[in-house]
Amino acid sequence: MRKITFKIESRLDATPLLGQMVNALCSAAGLSPTDAGFVEVSVVEAANNAIEHAYLGDPNNFVEVSVSLAPDALIFDVFDSGKSADPDFVHSNHQGALSLSEETLAHASERGRGLAIIQQVMDSIEYTPGSGRNRFRLIKRLRAT
């Protein structure tokens, strides 16, 4: 199984380059441009969450994303060494965050859609807190073409 790890500083302006690499890798693995774009957004959301919520914006840390190319799936492991999230919260259904309509617009939050996007795009997710190393695993299955 082929594998590569991307490592960036814990700064929001470091995630675009990560995203572009993830997109290129998804394309090389055979995902459609649309799906590659969705996966790019998802991994960037996970990295942004690590930066904002695990490291609380401290730029002197690192976010690592290990990508494993299995024959039938792409596995993204997003690692941080900051504050852990509550796995039950991460795993809970976040689709409510995407229930936007004209009626609810006034109360719609500007934030809180990252996990919902990740859940929509990915086939499965698993958040594993660890002392000094949290792992957020995102799996995208490859469909036979």
């Binding site: 929001l12 675009p16 649309t34 957004v41 942004n48 936007l100 309509s101 719609a108 934030r111 990252g114």
Partner: protein, 112 residues
């Protein structure tokens, strides 16, 4: 945050000149567009044709602009590229925004 501003009669067109509207650019984007948001123009056209990537922070920033529009004024989105249109759809943003293919179509539909 690079934007270009143009007047179209009484209305303003703001074109985002960045390829990515992500978390690192969301605040600067809100500031830049916010400055012309309620400048008296009945319609503000937001041209996203240069933007190839948007995430939840970028979408949230656009949503916050919509919520800050004064009564009787309109925020009109133009020129969504395929990846950005896909994100509008995935997050249901397409339900609350008026979206046109490009500025020309938007202006002609809105002023005739």
């Amino acid at each position: 945050m690079k934007i270009a501003e143009k007047q179209f009669g009484p209305n303003t067109v703001v074109q985002v000149l960045e390829q990515r509207l992500g978390a690192d650019k969301a605040v600067a984007f809100k500031d830049a567009v916010g400055r012309v948001l309620n400048n008296g123009n009945p319609q503000l056209y937001l041209d996203l044709s240069q933007v190839e990537f948007i995430d939840s922070s970028g979408l949230g920033a656009i949503l916050s602009l919509l919520k800050r529009m004064e009564k009787g004024r309109e925020l009109i989105i133009c020129g969504l590229t395929e990846p950005v249109a896909s994100m509008f759809k995935l997050t249901r943003m397409d339900r609350v925004f008026t979206i046109y293919k490009n500025v020309e179509q938007a202006v002609s539909a809105r002023t005739h």
